[in-house]
Amino acid sequence: MNKKILGAIVGLIIIFSSVLVVSVLTNNVSDSDDKETQDYSTDDILSEIDESLLDEDGEIEIGEMV
């Protein structure tokens, strides 16, 4: 009886760890896929440049008085 319970616990641990390993591996695969397909256009770069520059009319909002 004891052996059965221990066996069930060990079985559960094996199932959980397998699921964990599979999910980690799939994430890594999709990450490396992303790296291979990255190509940036002029527009992508210009949009990055735009984000790094400040808006000349930019203001800080502290709320309205009325």
Binding site: M1, N2, I5, L6, I9, Q38, D39, Y40, S41, T42, D44, I45, L46, E48, I49, D50, E51, S52, L53, L54, D55, E56, G58, E59, I60, E61, I62, G63, E64, M65, V66
Partner: protein, 311 residues
């Protein structure tokens, strides 16, 4: 069998209780912390250089100045209608003291981000306090007509011009770094932009032409470098903002104490009633903080302050 079941149950209980215990600990740790809004966090991203810090402080100065002008306009309209404006004047007088603190802030200081976060938070609170006090005095219709009356052009030209110059200077530095990535520095073009002879769009068009002629690899490299510097700036800002959240409440108390002392010493406002009211409000906020309310934010003072109303 029973022993094993007992051990499993105890383990399960321990596992389920531990997150609760950890959560309580975290709640205890963050009790004093304040969450800085996302907008402010983004604003601090440019403050890792003195030009960026100067821009944010100038923009804060401009925002407070605009609200002071609007506040004065509101008060003069209400006075015409025979309202008691002492409470509003007291808040405005504190906003004027805050403006002096912003003007005195050093953009080169290592704690410039913390100072900006603190003073912006005070500015927002005082603005809200003014708005809430006004709301308690007037109905919606009267408020709307007041908004119409004070909807004037607010062109504080000197301040706007100074901010624009500093923004162009900041953008010039950013563009210089970009040219450095590209390996092609056109100083005359950068100078033209900084002097206002070329617009930002024209600059971007010129850079776009250079990028178009590049190889795919070079474009990818530039993109990565731009992303990297953006991430670095964001991380730096996050650390500074995170530091600014520590001891936020005690710093706030200290600021109010200093402001109160300054107001007492300098006799800052000509009207003694307004001065007394302002000092009373600050003392009330300090007492509220000390008594553990901690919110310290809205600090509406006592009930008498809120009212105002017609004389």
């Amino acid at each position: 069998m029973k022993k094993i079941l007992g051990i499993i149950i105890v383990l399960m209980l321990l596992v389920s209780i531990s997150p609760l215990a950890l959560a309580e600990d975290e709640a205890g740790d963050t009790k004093e912390e304040v969450e800085i809004d996302e907008e402010t966090q983004e604003e601090t991203e440019i403050m890792n250089c003195s030009v960026g810090a100067e821009i944010r402080l100038l923009q804060l100065e401009k925002a407070i100045t605009k609200n002071i002008i609007k506040g004065n306009e509101t008060i003069s309209v209400l006075k015409e209608l025979d309202y008691n404006t002492t409470a509003l004047e007291a808040i405005l007088a504190e906003l004027e003291l805050l403006l002096e603190e912003v003007q005195a802030a050093d953009p080169n200081a290592t704690d410039a981000v913390q100072v900006f976060v603190d003073l912006k938070s005070d500015a927002k609170e005082l603005t809200k306090e003014f708005r809430d006090t006004l709301k308690a005095m007037l109905d919606d219709e009267a408020l709307e007509s007041l908004r119409e009356r004070i909807r004037v052009e607010f062109q504080n030209l000197n301040l706007s011009k100074k901010i624009l110059n500093r923004i162009r200077s900041y953008n010039r530095n950013q563009l210089y770094r970009l040219y450095d990535f590209i390996g092609y520095i056109n100083n005359s073009f950068l100078d033209e932009y900084e002097n206002g002879n070329i617009t930002k769009e024209q600059m971007k068009n010129q850079i776009g032409k250079i990028i178009n002629d590049m190889t795919k690899e070079k474009r990818n490299q530039i993109f990565s470098e731009l992303k990297e510097s953006k991430i670095k700036a964001r991380i730096h800002a996050m650390i500074c903002v995170e530091n600014a959240t520590h001891n936020f409440t005690s710093r706030k108390e200290l600021r109010i104490e200093h402001r109160l002392q300054y107001a007492k010493n300098s006799q800052s406002h000509t009207n003694s009633w307004v001065r007394a009211e302002m000092q009373q409000r600050m003392e009330n906020r300090l007492n509220e903080n000390n008594s553990g309310n901690g919110n310290g934010g809205s600090g509406n003072g006592n009930g008498d302050n809120q009212g105002g109303g017609k004389q």
